[in-house]
Amino acid sequence: MATDFGQAAGMDQPPGAPTPRARLLWLLTVVTVMALLTAGWPLVNSAVSDNLPLAPGAALRIGPGGPESAVVRVGPGWSLRPAESNSARGYALRRGAVTASIAYVSLAERAQAPQLWDGLRAILRIRNPGLRLGSPRAITSRQGRAGLTGPLTSRGAAGAATIFVGPSGTFAIEMIGLVPRNQGGEAALAAVRTFVRSLVFPAAPR
Protein backbone atom coordinates (compact mmCIF):
# COMPACT_ATOMS: atom_id res chain seq x y z
CA MET A 1 0.00 0.00 0.00
CA ALA A 2 1.96 3.00 -1.24
CA THR A 3 -0.68 5.63 -0.57
CA ASP A 4 0.28 8.26 2.03
CA PHE A 5 -2.88 7.84 4.00
CA GLY A 6 -2.67 11.10 5.97
CA GLN A 7 -2.23 13.16 2.81
CA ALA A 8 -4.88 11.28 0.85
CA ALA A 9 -7.42 11.80 3.58
CA GLY A 10 -6.37 15.47 3.90
CA MET A 11 -6.42 15.36 7.66
CA ASP A 12 -2.94 16.39 8.74
CA GLN A 13 -4.27 19.34 10.72
CA PRO A 14 -7.43 19.16 12.83
CA PRO A 15 -10.08 21.31 11.20
CA GLY A 16 -11.37 24.14 13.35
CA ALA A 17 -8.22 24.27 15.52
CA PRO A 18 -8.17 27.60 17.36
CA THR A 19 -6.34 30.51 15.79
CA PRO A 20 -3.52 32.04 17.89
CA ARG A 21 -5.84 34.88 18.87
CA ALA A 22 -8.65 32.50 19.87
CA ARG A 23 -6.17 30.35 21.80
CA LEU A 24 -4.97 33.35 23.80
CA LEU A 25 -8.54 34.45 24.47
CA TRP A 26 -9.35 30.98 25.83
CA LEU A 27 -6.17 31.07 27.91
CA LEU A 28 -7.22 34.44 29.29
CA THR A 29 -10.64 32.98 30.12
CA VAL A 30 -9.08 30.06 32.02
CA VAL A 31 -6.71 32.34 33.96
CA THR A 32 -9.59 34.73 34.75
CA VAL A 33 -11.84 31.92 36.03
CA MET A 34 -9.04 30.58 38.21
CA ALA A 35 -8.12 34.02 39.55
CA LEU A 36 -11.76 34.87 40.29
CA LEU A 37 -12.29 31.68 42.27
CA THR A 38 -8.90 31.61 44.00
CA ALA A 39 -8.62 35.28 44.92
CA GLY A 40 -12.23 36.44 44.54
CA TRP A 41 -13.89 34.33 47.21
CA PRO A 42 -11.20 34.98 49.85
CA LEU A 43 -11.36 38.72 49.09
CA VAL A 44 -15.16 38.84 49.43
CA ASN A 45 -14.92 36.71 52.56
CA SER A 46 -12.37 39.04 54.12
CA ALA A 47 -14.66 42.00 53.43
CA VAL A 48 -17.51 40.46 55.46
CA SER A 49 -17.32 40.72 59.25
CA ASP A 50 -16.31 37.51 61.01
CA ASN A 51 -17.86 38.48 64.33
CA LEU A 52 -21.17 37.23 65.72
CA PRO A 53 -21.90 38.48 69.24
CA LEU A 54 -23.23 35.77 71.57
CA ALA A 55 -25.81 36.37 74.27
CA PRO A 56 -24.51 35.85 77.83
CA GLY A 57 -25.11 32.22 78.76
CA ALA A 58 -25.42 31.12 75.11
CA ALA A 59 -24.93 27.38 74.72
CA LEU A 60 -22.64 26.01 72.00
CA ARG A 61 -23.10 22.34 71.14
CA ILE A 62 -20.09 20.65 69.64
CA GLY A 63 -19.77 17.21 68.07
CA PRO A 64 -21.70 14.99 65.67
CA GLY A 65 -24.67 14.89 68.03
CA GLY A 66 -26.30 12.51 70.48
CA PRO A 67 -24.07 11.04 73.18
CA GLU A 68 -20.95 12.00 71.21
CA SER A 69 -21.32 15.71 71.88
CA ALA A 70 -20.68 18.37 74.50
CA VAL A 71 -22.10 21.79 75.39
CA VAL A 72 -20.31 24.89 76.66
CA ARG A 73 -21.93 28.09 77.93
CA VAL A 74 -20.19 31.39 77.39
CA GLY A 75 -20.25 34.35 79.75
CA PRO A 76 -20.93 37.97 78.79
CA GLY A 77 -18.95 39.72 76.09
CA TRP A 78 -18.05 36.73 73.92
CA SER A 79 -18.53 36.63 70.18
CA LEU A 80 -18.24 33.81 67.67
CA ARG A 81 -15.99 33.81 64.58
CA PRO A 82 -18.31 31.92 62.23
CA ALA A 83 -15.82 31.40 59.39
CA GLU A 84 -13.54 29.44 61.73
CA SER A 85 -16.36 27.52 63.41
CA ASN A 86 -18.19 24.29 62.70
CA SER A 87 -20.73 22.71 65.03
CA ALA A 88 -19.25 19.25 64.44
CA ARG A 89 -15.56 20.13 64.72
CA GLY A 90 -15.18 23.22 66.88
CA TYR A 91 -15.64 26.92 67.49
CA ALA A 92 -13.43 29.98 67.46
CA LEU A 93 -14.40 32.67 69.97
CA ARG A 94 -13.27 36.16 70.85
CA ARG A 95 -13.78 38.49 73.80
CA GLY A 96 -11.96 41.74 73.20
CA ALA A 97 -8.32 40.77 72.76
CA VAL A 98 -8.92 37.31 74.26
CA THR A 99 -9.21 34.42 71.80
CA ALA A 100 -10.46 30.93 72.52
CA SER A 101 -11.03 27.77 70.57
CA ILE A 102 -12.98 24.63 71.30
CA ALA A 103 -12.18 21.52 69.25
CA TYR A 104 -13.83 18.12 69.00
CA VAL A 105 -11.35 15.26 68.81
CA SER A 106 -12.39 11.78 67.71
CA LEU A 107 -10.51 8.82 69.20
CA ALA A 108 -10.29 5.48 67.41
CA GLU A 109 -9.76 3.68 70.74
CA ARG A 110 -10.31 4.51 74.41
CA ALA A 111 -6.66 3.63 75.05
CA GLN A 112 -5.61 6.71 73.07
CA ALA A 113 -6.90 9.20 75.67
CA PRO A 114 -3.61 9.34 77.63
CA GLN A 115 -1.84 10.53 74.47
CA LEU A 116 -4.12 13.57 74.10
CA TRP A 117 -1.83 16.00 75.94
CA ASP A 118 1.26 15.14 73.89
CA GLY A 119 -0.94 15.12 70.78
CA LEU A 120 -2.14 18.64 71.55
CA ARG A 121 1.47 19.77 71.97
CA ALA A 122 2.29 18.37 68.51
CA ILE A 123 -0.79 19.99 66.95
CA LEU A 124 0.20 23.36 68.43
CA ARG A 125 3.60 23.02 66.76
CA ILE A 126 1.71 22.95 63.46
CA ARG A 127 -1.05 25.45 64.17
CA ASN A 128 0.84 27.91 66.35
CA PRO A 129 4.58 27.16 66.39
CA GLY A 130 5.49 29.95 68.81
CA LEU A 131 3.20 28.57 71.53
CA ARG A 132 4.58 26.37 74.32
CA LEU A 133 2.35 23.98 76.23
CA GLY A 134 3.39 23.30 79.83
CA SER A 135 2.79 20.25 82.01
CA PRO A 136 -0.81 19.28 82.79
CA ARG A 137 -2.56 19.29 86.14
CA ALA A 138 -6.00 18.06 87.14
CA ILE A 139 -9.13 20.15 86.65
CA THR A 140 -12.78 19.38 87.36
CA SER A 141 -15.66 20.77 85.37
CA ARG A 142 -18.80 22.08 87.07
CA GLN A 143 -20.43 18.84 85.93
CA GLY A 144 -17.83 16.96 87.96
CA ARG A 145 -15.85 15.60 85.03
CA ALA A 146 -12.11 15.25 85.54
CA GLY A 147 -9.82 16.76 82.92
CA LEU A 148 -6.37 18.15 82.37
CA THR A 149 -5.28 21.76 82.11
CA GLY A 150 -1.92 23.41 81.62
CA PRO A 151 -0.30 26.75 80.81
CA LEU A 152 0.29 28.09 77.33
CA THR A 153 2.97 30.69 76.77
CA SER A 154 4.39 32.52 73.81
CA ARG A 155 6.35 35.72 73.34
CA GLY A 156 3.21 37.84 73.01
CA ALA A 157 0.50 35.88 74.81
CA ALA A 158 -0.31 33.61 77.73
CA GLY A 159 -3.20 31.31 78.40
CA ALA A 160 -4.28 27.79 79.15
CA ALA A 161 -5.20 24.56 77.38
CA THR A 162 -7.76 22.13 78.79
CA ILE A 163 -8.85 18.65 77.75
CA PHE A 164 -11.92 16.71 78.86
CA VAL A 165 -12.50 13.17 77.60
CA GLY A 166 -16.13 12.34 76.77
CA PRO A 167 -18.06 9.73 78.78
CA SER A 168 -17.73 7.11 76.01
CA GLY A 169 -13.95 7.52 75.97
CA THR A 170 -14.04 7.77 72.18
CA PHE A 171 -13.94 11.55 71.90
CA ALA A 172 -12.55 14.55 73.74
CA ILE A 173 -12.98 18.29 73.84
CA GLU A 174 -9.84 20.45 73.67
CA MET A 175 -10.11 24.09 74.68
CA ILE A 176 -7.53 26.82 74.33
CA GLY A 177 -7.68 30.36 75.68
CA LEU A 178 -5.07 33.00 74.89
CA VAL A 179 -4.66 36.52 76.24
CA PRO A 180 -2.15 39.01 74.81
CA ARG A 181 0.35 40.10 77.42
CA ASN A 182 -0.51 43.49 79.04
CA GLN A 183 -4.21 43.07 78.22
CA GLY A 184 -5.62 42.62 81.73
CA GLY A 185 -4.26 39.07 81.91
CA GLU A 186 -5.75 37.42 84.99
CA ALA A 187 -9.25 38.88 84.64
CA ALA A 188 -9.37 37.89 81.00
CA LEU A 189 -8.19 34.37 81.76
CA ALA A 190 -10.89 34.11 84.42
CA ALA A 191 -13.49 34.63 81.66
CA VAL A 192 -11.91 31.77 79.71
CA ARG A 193 -11.89 29.52 82.79
CA THR A 194 -15.58 30.22 83.35
CA PHE A 195 -16.63 28.80 80.01
CA VAL A 196 -14.04 26.00 80.16
CA ARG A 197 -15.51 24.74 83.42
CA SER A 198 -19.03 25.12 82.04
CA LEU A 199 -18.46 22.18 79.68
CA VAL A 200 -21.20 19.57 79.97
CA PHE A 201 -21.40 16.14 78.39
CA PRO A 202 -25.14 15.49 78.02
CA ALA A 203 -24.51 11.74 78.00
CA ALA A 204 -22.58 11.77 81.29
CA PRO A 205 -24.37 10.53 84.44
CA ARG A 206 -25.33 13.41 86.69
Binding site: G16, P20, R21, L24, L37, W41, N86, A122
Partner: protein, 330 residues
Amino acid sequence: MTSAESIRAVRASGAALCTFGAVVLAWQFVRYLTVFPASVAAAVVLELPLLLVGFAALRVLRPVRMPPVTWSAAALIWGGTAAAGCALLANRGLIGLWFKGAGVAFASGWSDALSAPLNEELLKVCGVVMIVLAAPQVINGPLDALIYGALAGLGFQVTENVVYGLNSIVLSGATNPGQAVLNSALVRVGTTGPGSHWTMTAVAGAGIGYLVERSRRGGPVLPAIACLLLAMSMHLLFDAPKVIIEIKVGVNFVIVIALYLLLRHAFLERAHELLGAWTGAGLIGQSEARSVLSRRRRRTELARAASPTGRYWLQRRQRQIMAAIEREAA
Protein backbone atom coordinates in the same frame (compact mmCIF):
# COMPACT_ATOMS: atom_id res chain seq x y z
CA MET B 1 1.74 35.93 17.12
CA THR B 2 2.17 32.58 15.40
CA SER B 3 0.32 29.42 16.30
CA ALA B 4 3.50 27.89 17.79
CA GLU B 5 4.08 30.98 19.95
CA SER B 6 0.52 30.93 21.25
CA ILE B 7 0.88 27.23 22.11
CA ARG B 8 4.12 27.97 23.97
CA ALA B 9 2.34 30.74 25.90
CA VAL B 10 -0.40 28.29 26.94
CA ARG B 11 2.14 25.67 28.04
CA ALA B 12 4.15 28.22 30.04
CA SER B 13 0.95 29.48 31.71
CA GLY B 14 -0.07 25.91 32.55
CA ALA B 15 3.31 25.22 34.13
CA ALA B 16 3.09 28.49 36.10
CA LEU B 17 -0.41 27.65 37.40
CA CYS B 18 0.71 24.14 38.42
CA THR B 19 3.71 25.64 40.23
CA PHE B 20 1.44 28.13 41.99
CA GLY B 21 -0.88 25.36 43.16
CA ALA B 22 2.02 23.23 44.37
CA VAL B 23 3.47 26.18 46.31
CA VAL B 24 0.10 26.86 47.97
CA LEU B 25 -0.18 23.21 49.04
CA ALA B 26 3.41 23.09 50.29
CA TRP B 27 2.95 26.33 52.23
CA GLN B 28 -0.20 24.94 53.89
CA PHE B 29 1.26 21.58 54.89
CA VAL B 30 5.02 22.01 55.24
CA ARG B 31 4.79 22.04 59.06
CA TYR B 32 3.26 18.55 59.01
CA LEU B 33 6.47 17.41 57.40
CA THR B 34 8.55 18.65 60.33
CA VAL B 35 6.19 17.47 63.09
CA PHE B 36 4.89 14.20 61.59
CA PRO B 37 7.42 13.23 58.90
CA ALA B 38 6.66 9.50 58.99
CA SER B 39 2.91 10.07 58.78
CA VAL B 40 3.31 12.48 55.85
CA ALA B 41 5.40 9.87 54.06
CA ALA B 42 2.76 7.23 54.84
CA ALA B 43 -0.04 9.51 53.58
CA VAL B 44 1.78 9.91 50.26
CA VAL B 45 2.87 6.28 49.89
CA LEU B 46 -0.65 5.01 50.65
CA GLU B 47 -1.94 6.96 47.63
CA LEU B 48 0.66 5.60 45.21
CA PRO B 49 -1.32 2.45 44.30
CA LEU B 50 -4.38 4.57 43.49
CA LEU B 51 -2.23 6.98 41.50
CA LEU B 52 -0.42 4.34 39.46
CA VAL B 53 -3.30 1.90 38.95
CA GLY B 54 -5.75 4.72 38.25
CA PHE B 55 -3.41 6.37 35.76
CA ALA B 56 -2.87 3.13 33.86
CA ALA B 57 -6.52 2.03 33.98
CA LEU B 58 -7.93 5.35 32.79
CA ARG B 59 -5.50 5.52 29.87
CA VAL B 60 -6.41 1.99 28.78
CA LEU B 61 -10.07 3.00 28.67
CA ARG B 62 -9.46 5.00 25.50
CA PRO B 63 -10.32 2.78 22.54
CA VAL B 64 -7.90 2.16 19.66
CA ARG B 65 -4.80 3.44 21.54
CA MET B 66 -3.88 5.05 24.82
CA PRO B 67 -3.57 8.84 25.02
CA PRO B 68 0.01 10.22 24.96
CA VAL B 69 1.71 9.69 28.31
CA THR B 70 2.99 13.30 28.39
CA TRP B 71 -0.45 14.85 28.17
CA SER B 72 -2.00 12.21 30.40
CA ALA B 73 0.58 13.13 33.03
CA ALA B 74 -0.08 16.84 32.40
CA ALA B 75 -3.79 16.33 33.18
CA LEU B 76 -2.94 14.38 36.33
CA ILE B 77 -0.47 17.03 37.49
CA TRP B 78 -2.94 19.83 36.79
CA GLY B 79 -5.53 18.16 39.00
CA GLY B 80 -3.05 17.46 41.77
CA THR B 81 -1.41 20.89 41.85
CA ALA B 82 -3.08 23.80 40.02
CA ALA B 83 -6.65 22.69 40.70
CA ALA B 84 -6.04 21.35 44.22
CA GLY B 85 -3.96 24.32 45.37
CA CYS B 86 -6.39 26.91 44.01
CA ALA B 87 -9.37 24.96 45.39
CA LEU B 88 -7.86 25.13 48.87
CA LEU B 89 -8.00 28.95 48.78
CA ALA B 90 -11.26 29.24 46.85
CA ASN B 91 -13.13 26.83 49.13
CA ARG B 92 -11.85 28.53 52.26
CA GLY B 93 -13.23 31.84 50.98
CA LEU B 94 -16.63 30.57 49.87
CA ILE B 95 -17.14 28.25 52.86
CA GLY B 96 -16.31 31.17 55.16
CA LEU B 97 -19.03 33.20 53.43
CA TRP B 98 -21.57 30.43 53.94
CA PHE B 99 -20.78 30.30 57.66
CA LYS B 100 -21.09 34.07 57.96
CA GLY B 101 -24.19 34.41 55.81
CA ALA B 102 -26.22 31.28 56.49
CA GLY B 103 -25.20 30.58 60.07
CA VAL B 104 -22.98 27.96 61.67
CA ALA B 105 -25.72 25.35 62.10
CA PHE B 106 -26.68 25.29 58.40
CA ALA B 107 -23.18 25.78 57.03
CA SER B 108 -21.71 22.99 59.19
CA GLY B 109 -23.75 20.54 57.15
CA TRP B 110 -24.04 22.18 53.76
CA SER B 111 -21.10 24.55 53.16
CA ASP B 112 -18.92 21.87 51.54
CA ALA B 113 -21.72 20.69 49.26
CA LEU B 114 -22.53 24.27 48.23
CA SER B 115 -18.92 25.36 47.65
CA ALA B 116 -16.81 22.49 46.31
CA PRO B 117 -18.97 21.64 43.26
CA LEU B 118 -18.68 25.17 41.90
CA ASN B 119 -15.02 25.81 42.73
CA GLU B 120 -13.50 22.40 42.22
CA GLU B 121 -15.33 21.34 39.06
CA LEU B 122 -14.39 24.60 37.30
CA LEU B 123 -10.77 24.44 38.48
CA LYS B 124 -10.34 20.80 37.48
CA VAL B 125 -12.00 21.12 34.08
CA CYS B 126 -9.80 24.11 33.28
CA GLY B 127 -7.04 21.50 32.97
CA VAL B 128 -8.87 19.83 30.08
CA VAL B 129 -9.28 23.22 28.38
CA MET B 130 -5.56 23.87 28.84
CA ILE B 131 -4.71 20.57 27.14
CA VAL B 132 -7.01 21.40 24.22
CA LEU B 133 -5.14 24.71 23.85
CA ALA B 134 -1.64 23.35 24.49
CA ALA B 135 -1.90 20.24 22.31
CA PRO B 136 -4.47 20.79 19.54
CA GLN B 137 -4.18 17.23 18.14
CA VAL B 138 -4.72 15.43 21.44
CA ILE B 139 -8.39 15.97 22.27
CA ASN B 140 -10.69 15.40 19.32
CA GLY B 141 -14.05 14.92 20.99
CA PRO B 142 -15.99 14.04 24.15
CA LEU B 143 -14.47 10.58 24.61
CA ASP B 144 -10.88 11.90 24.58
CA ALA B 145 -11.87 14.74 26.88
CA LEU B 146 -13.64 12.32 29.25
CA ILE B 147 -10.37 10.40 29.68
CA TYR B 148 -8.33 13.57 30.27
CA GLY B 149 -10.98 14.87 32.65
CA ALA B 150 -10.86 11.61 34.59
CA LEU B 151 -7.06 11.91 34.82
CA ALA B 152 -7.28 15.51 36.08
CA GLY B 153 -9.89 14.36 38.60
CA LEU B 154 -7.66 11.49 39.69
CA GLY B 155 -4.76 13.89 40.31
CA PHE B 156 -7.04 16.10 42.39
CA GLN B 157 -8.38 13.07 44.26
CA VAL B 158 -4.91 11.83 45.18
CA THR B 159 -3.83 15.24 46.51
CA GLU B 160 -7.10 15.65 48.39
CA ASN B 161 -6.67 12.19 49.94
CA VAL B 162 -3.22 13.15 51.21
CA VAL B 163 -4.61 16.41 52.60
CA TYR B 164 -7.49 14.59 54.32
CA GLY B 165 -5.01 12.10 55.73
CA LEU B 166 -3.01 14.95 57.29
CA ASN B 167 -6.15 16.67 58.56
CA SER B 168 -7.26 13.39 60.17
CA ILE B 169 -4.15 13.56 62.39
CA VAL B 170 -5.45 16.80 63.91
CA LEU B 171 -9.07 15.60 64.05
CA SER B 172 -7.93 12.59 66.09
CA GLY B 173 -5.94 14.76 68.48
CA ALA B 174 -2.62 13.47 67.09
CA THR B 175 -2.96 10.54 69.48
CA ASN B 176 -1.90 8.02 66.83
CA PRO B 177 -0.94 9.87 63.61
CA GLY B 178 -0.03 6.73 61.68
CA GLN B 179 -3.34 5.04 62.39
CA ALA B 180 -5.28 8.22 61.56
CA VAL B 181 -3.56 8.44 58.17
CA LEU B 182 -4.12 4.75 57.47
CA ASN B 183 -7.82 4.87 58.40
CA SER B 184 -8.34 7.96 56.25
CA ALA B 185 -6.61 6.35 53.25
CA LEU B 186 -8.61 3.12 53.59
CA VAL B 187 -11.90 5.03 53.58
CA ARG B 188 -10.96 7.42 50.80
CA VAL B 189 -9.39 4.86 48.50
CA GLY B 190 -11.49 1.81 49.32
CA THR B 191 -14.93 3.25 50.02
CA THR B 192 -15.32 6.64 48.37
CA GLY B 193 -12.60 6.29 45.72
CA PRO B 194 -14.69 4.61 43.00
CA GLY B 195 -17.17 7.53 42.92
CA SER B 196 -14.98 10.49 43.75
CA HIS B 197 -13.35 13.27 41.70
CA TRP B 198 -12.31 11.17 38.71
CA THR B 199 -15.96 10.45 37.89
CA MET B 200 -17.10 14.06 38.20
CA THR B 201 -14.28 15.57 36.15
CA ALA B 202 -14.64 12.84 33.53
CA VAL B 203 -18.20 14.05 32.96
CA ALA B 204 -17.23 17.74 33.02
CA GLY B 205 -14.31 16.96 30.70
CA ALA B 206 -16.61 15.29 28.18
CA GLY B 207 -18.37 18.65 27.97
CA ILE B 208 -15.12 20.30 26.86
CA GLY B 209 -14.85 17.57 24.23
CA TYR B 210 -18.26 18.57 22.92
CA LEU B 211 -16.97 22.15 22.62
CA VAL B 212 -13.98 20.90 20.60
CA GLU B 213 -16.33 18.93 18.36
CA ARG B 214 -18.51 22.01 17.99
CA SER B 215 -15.54 24.15 16.93
CA ARG B 216 -14.69 21.64 14.20
CA ARG B 217 -18.06 20.51 12.94
CA GLY B 218 -20.57 22.90 14.47
CA GLY B 219 -23.39 21.83 16.78
CA PRO B 220 -25.12 22.95 19.95
CA VAL B 221 -23.32 24.16 23.06
CA LEU B 222 -25.97 22.55 25.28
CA PRO B 223 -24.17 19.17 25.76
CA ALA B 224 -21.11 20.99 27.12
CA ILE B 225 -23.20 22.95 29.63
CA ALA B 226 -25.19 19.85 30.55
CA CYS B 227 -21.98 17.88 31.26
CA LEU B 228 -20.61 20.61 33.53
CA LEU B 229 -23.91 20.93 35.40
CA LEU B 230 -24.16 17.14 35.74
CA ALA B 231 -20.61 17.00 37.14
CA MET B 232 -21.48 19.74 39.65
CA SER B 233 -24.65 17.88 40.62
CA MET B 234 -22.66 14.66 41.14
CA HIS B 235 -20.27 16.61 43.35
CA LEU B 236 -23.13 18.19 45.31
CA LEU B 237 -24.62 14.75 45.93
CA PHE B 238 -21.21 13.44 46.96
CA ASP B 239 -20.73 16.18 49.57
CA ALA B 240 -24.35 16.37 50.72
CA PRO B 241 -25.01 15.44 54.35
CA LYS B 242 -27.36 12.62 55.33
CA VAL B 243 -26.97 10.62 52.11
CA ILE B 244 -25.56 7.11 52.48
CA ILE B 245 -22.02 7.03 51.12
CA GLU B 246 -22.64 3.84 49.12
CA ILE B 247 -25.44 5.61 47.24
CA LYS B 248 -23.25 8.63 46.47
CA VAL B 249 -20.42 6.46 45.18
CA GLY B 250 -22.74 4.15 43.26
CA VAL B 251 -24.62 6.95 41.49
CA ASN B 252 -21.43 8.72 40.38
CA PHE B 253 -19.82 5.48 39.23
CA VAL B 254 -22.87 4.41 37.22
CA ILE B 255 -23.18 7.85 35.57
CA VAL B 256 -19.58 7.95 34.40
CA ILE B 257 -19.58 4.34 33.19
CA ALA B 258 -22.86 4.87 31.30
CA LEU B 259 -21.51 8.03 29.64
CA TYR B 260 -18.25 6.28 28.78
CA LEU B 261 -20.00 3.27 27.23
CA LEU B 262 -22.31 5.52 25.18
CA LEU B 263 -19.42 7.60 23.85
CA ARG B 264 -17.26 4.52 23.23
CA HIS B 265 -20.04 2.78 21.32
CA ALA B 266 -20.66 5.87 19.17
CA PHE B 267 -16.92 6.28 18.53
CA LEU B 268 -16.36 2.66 17.49
CA GLU B 269 -19.48 2.62 15.30
CA ARG B 270 -18.25 5.70 13.46
CA ALA B 271 -14.72 4.25 13.26
CA HIS B 272 -16.05 1.09 11.59
CA GLU B 273 -18.06 3.21 9.12
CA LEU B 274 -14.95 5.23 8.27
CA LEU B 275 -12.81 2.13 7.82
CA GLY B 276 -15.46 0.67 5.50
CA ALA B 277 -15.52 3.86 3.43
CA TRP B 278 -11.73 4.12 3.27
CA THR B 279 -11.44 0.45 2.28
CA GLY B 280 -14.02 0.98 -0.46
CA ALA B 281 -12.09 4.00 -1.73
CA GLY B 282 -8.85 2.00 -1.80
CA LEU B 283 -7.14 4.14 0.84
CA ILE B 284 -6.50 1.20 3.15
CA GLY B 285 -6.41 -2.55 2.76
CA GLN B 286 -8.85 -5.14 4.18
CA SER B 287 -6.29 -6.49 6.64
CA GLU B 288 -5.51 -2.96 7.87
CA ALA B 289 -9.20 -2.28 8.39
CA ARG B 290 -9.53 -5.49 10.40
CA SER B 291 -6.52 -4.88 12.63
CA VAL B 292 -6.19 -1.16 13.20
CA LEU B 293 -8.83 -0.77 15.93
CA SER B 294 -7.42 -3.57 18.09
CA ARG B 295 -4.20 -3.22 20.10
CA ARG B 296 -3.64 -7.00 20.02
CA ARG B 297 -4.22 -7.33 16.26
CA ARG B 298 -1.92 -4.41 15.52
CA ARG B 299 0.83 -6.07 17.55
CA THR B 300 0.24 -9.32 15.66
CA GLU B 301 0.54 -7.49 12.33
CA LEU B 302 3.77 -5.85 13.44
CA ALA B 303 5.19 -9.18 14.60
CA ARG B 304 4.57 -10.58 11.12
CA ALA B 305 6.63 -7.85 9.44
CA ALA B 306 9.50 -9.36 7.47
CA SER B 307 12.20 -6.91 8.54
CA PRO B 308 12.80 -4.09 11.05
CA THR B 309 12.42 -1.57 8.22
CA GLY B 310 9.14 -3.13 7.19
CA ARG B 311 7.97 -3.03 10.81
CA TYR B 312 8.91 0.66 11.03
CA TRP B 313 6.86 1.57 7.95
CA LEU B 314 3.93 -0.59 9.04
CA GLN B 315 3.90 1.00 12.48
CA ARG B 316 4.08 4.47 10.93
CA ARG B 317 1.13 3.69 8.71
CA GLN B 318 -0.87 2.22 11.59
CA ARG B 319 -0.29 5.45 13.50
CA GLN B 320 -1.42 7.57 10.55
CA ILE B 321 -4.63 5.58 10.20
CA MET B 322 -5.27 5.66 13.95
CA ALA B 323 -4.73 9.42 14.07
CA ALA B 324 -7.17 9.88 11.19
CA ILE B 325 -9.76 7.67 12.90
CA GLU B 326 -9.36 9.53 16.17
CA ARG B 327 -9.89 12.88 14.47
CA GLU B 328 -12.77 11.80 12.27
CA ALA B 329 -14.62 9.40 14.54
CA ALA B 330 -14.45 11.62 17.62
